[in-house]
Symmetry: C2
Subunit: 326 residues, 2 copies
């Protein structure tokens, strides 16, 4: 059987997904194409890959928790209020009295955006009994690279990975988004990201991610390089050129459903939410990828990482129509 | 002779004033009276007490340097560009490759604004040969409490204070703006601020500053308390109630020149710039206070910490007219 037809099965668990990574405030320039050093006006948004995956997967019906650390401050209050509005249980969010909620400034551009991260509480996610308990109760952990880049959060992430790897009925979904500027030492960062890739069930790099890790190359070669460092299933997203999926034995290309782009912020996170929810449902891997594609298609039509994702029934119908017309 | 008629004399020096403290980006809410946790739009301004005092004193004719540390990043570029436009020599600004330019979020309100500081490079101002050289070449050092609150900048500040104290022909102007939230330990902070007060030639607390340090009391009692901890000349600013000045032997109240308030951000920094420039000119202490009052009067009529301060000639003429009409 092709891996694309494989359906993952999970034990009955209290929690479907732990979204483990950064929850932060995005401050996006109002001026189009302005340099960050010149922009005068900023708009505040809910952000961070783990935050976006948590909200989108919850909207698609998953029982999601978010494992992160933010400051006990005004920006932390804002993020908690958004999560409560989305009916997400926030008990697993660590609140730091001494350190601040992280921020990322981003410039609005049609090219690759410039960004500047103000990190603080997010570097200090603690491993403790509560973390161990919820990890033991989940089916899937989604993990970001941002959180791996600094200790003590890195140590916590490595312990969570070990817990997942010990249990054959749990899956690790890893977003291998390596950016040298976030790491104390670039080479150590690359090495660790490759190590975690080998421990994950699914990785979803973009072409940018692949270039940061391996240098310039072709999509086909990137797939091979991820497999060489030990990846299990690689989902390479290539913007409007679609998605290339491989398990090492087969490669398959899937088309994107929409080329109408308003804002790509958080498109990768929407894909992850759709894909993971598909896997959690027991759908075939290829159908989970389609659900990821559909969630991303809706995302890029709206502004902000949390532009409305429709419910799963609607997404499934949309996929059917799109497949019929292709 | 009354201390109010005293004129300070300084040796000929290369530099008039070193403004030593925080240079940072203010991000002020666009919405009026919005909580920081609810505000959606922010405007970016040049800010930080040391930055404001540097720009305003330079506009009033002083040869000013600014001693601070910011990140080698987009926000640092913005601050450097403003200083260059103001023709301020930026050689004494330390640029940090690893740490970020500090930020302060502030809400726009007619009450006492809420704020949230993201500190980083500003905590790491180094004492080195260059710092020692410029301190030895200056007449006055203006020092903020913000920079005293965290090491290693605190250690650098204490060394600079020692250099100034060793030379009878130099003066230390200290802004005793104690805010517990910025200090690792509140009691240690209060103790150190009182110690530095005893080493300064001039301090200019506001009523808020006095309450944070001594608890609720009357202006007259505040003056006595500052003198008891060893202050030399105290200038207590009381908003529209004017300024109370004392050296321990005499007390004198001076009226403010303008009650027309648009925005008080940076009013204290404008006062400091006017006052220090008056002292540097060899004017009587009371005339330097008047120059401070006049600079603040122009400041509060405009928005932003750097709303245009007119040139010194104009300010002096304005003082004459105001005094004649009182």
């Amino acid at each position: 059987m092709s891996f694309l037809d494989f359906r993952y099965r999970f034990k009955d668990s209290d929690i479907d997904l732990i979204s483990f990574g950064e929850l932060l405030v995005d401050l996006i320039t109002n001026e189009e194409e302005a340099l960050l050093s010149e922009a005068e006006q900023f708009s505040r948004f809910f952000g961070g890959s783990a935050g976006n995956v948590a909200v989108n997967s919850k909207r698609l019906g998953a029982n999601t928790r978010i494992l992160t650390r933010i400051g006990k401050d005004s920006f932390g209050d804002f993020l908690l209020n958004v999560l409560k509005r989305e009916n997400i249980n926030t008990e697993t969010i660590q609140l730091d009295k001494k350190r601040k909620t992280p921020l990322v400034f981003v410039n609005k551009t049609s090219k690759t955006p410039a960004w500047l991260a103000y990190r603080d509480a997010d570097k200090y996610i603690e491993f403790n009994n509560d973390v161990e308990k919820i990890v033991n109760k989940t089916k899937v952990v989604y993990l970001t690279t941002f959180i791996l880049s600094q200790n003590p959060s890195r140590k916590t992430a490595l312990k969570v990975i070990d817990l997942i790897n010990k249990d054959e009925e749990k899956s690790l979904a890893f977003d291998p988004c390596f950016r040298p500027v976030l790491w104390p030492k670039e080479d150590d960062g690359k090495k660790l990201v490759k190590e975690v890739i080998s421990k994950a069930d699914f990785i979803k790099p973009s072409l940018d991610d692949a270039e940061y890790l391996f240098g310039p190359d072709t999509p086909q070669n990137y797939i091979d390089k991820y497999l060489q460092v030990g990846a299990n299933i690689v989902i390479l997203t290539m913007g409007e050129d679609g998605v290339l999926v491989s398990d090492g034995k087969e490669k398959m290309r899937l088309k994107v459903y929409s080329k109408k782009v308003v804002d790509v912020t958080g498109a990768g996170d929407s894909f992850w939410a759709g894909f993971i929810c598909g896997i959690l449902d027991g759908r075939k891997v290829k159908d989970a990828v389609k659900l990821g594609n559909a969630a991303a298609a809706f995302k890029i039509r709206g502004v902000g990482a949390l532009s409305p994702v429709p419910d799963k029934k609607y997404l499934l119908k949309y996929i059917e129509e799109q497949e019929a017309s292709q």
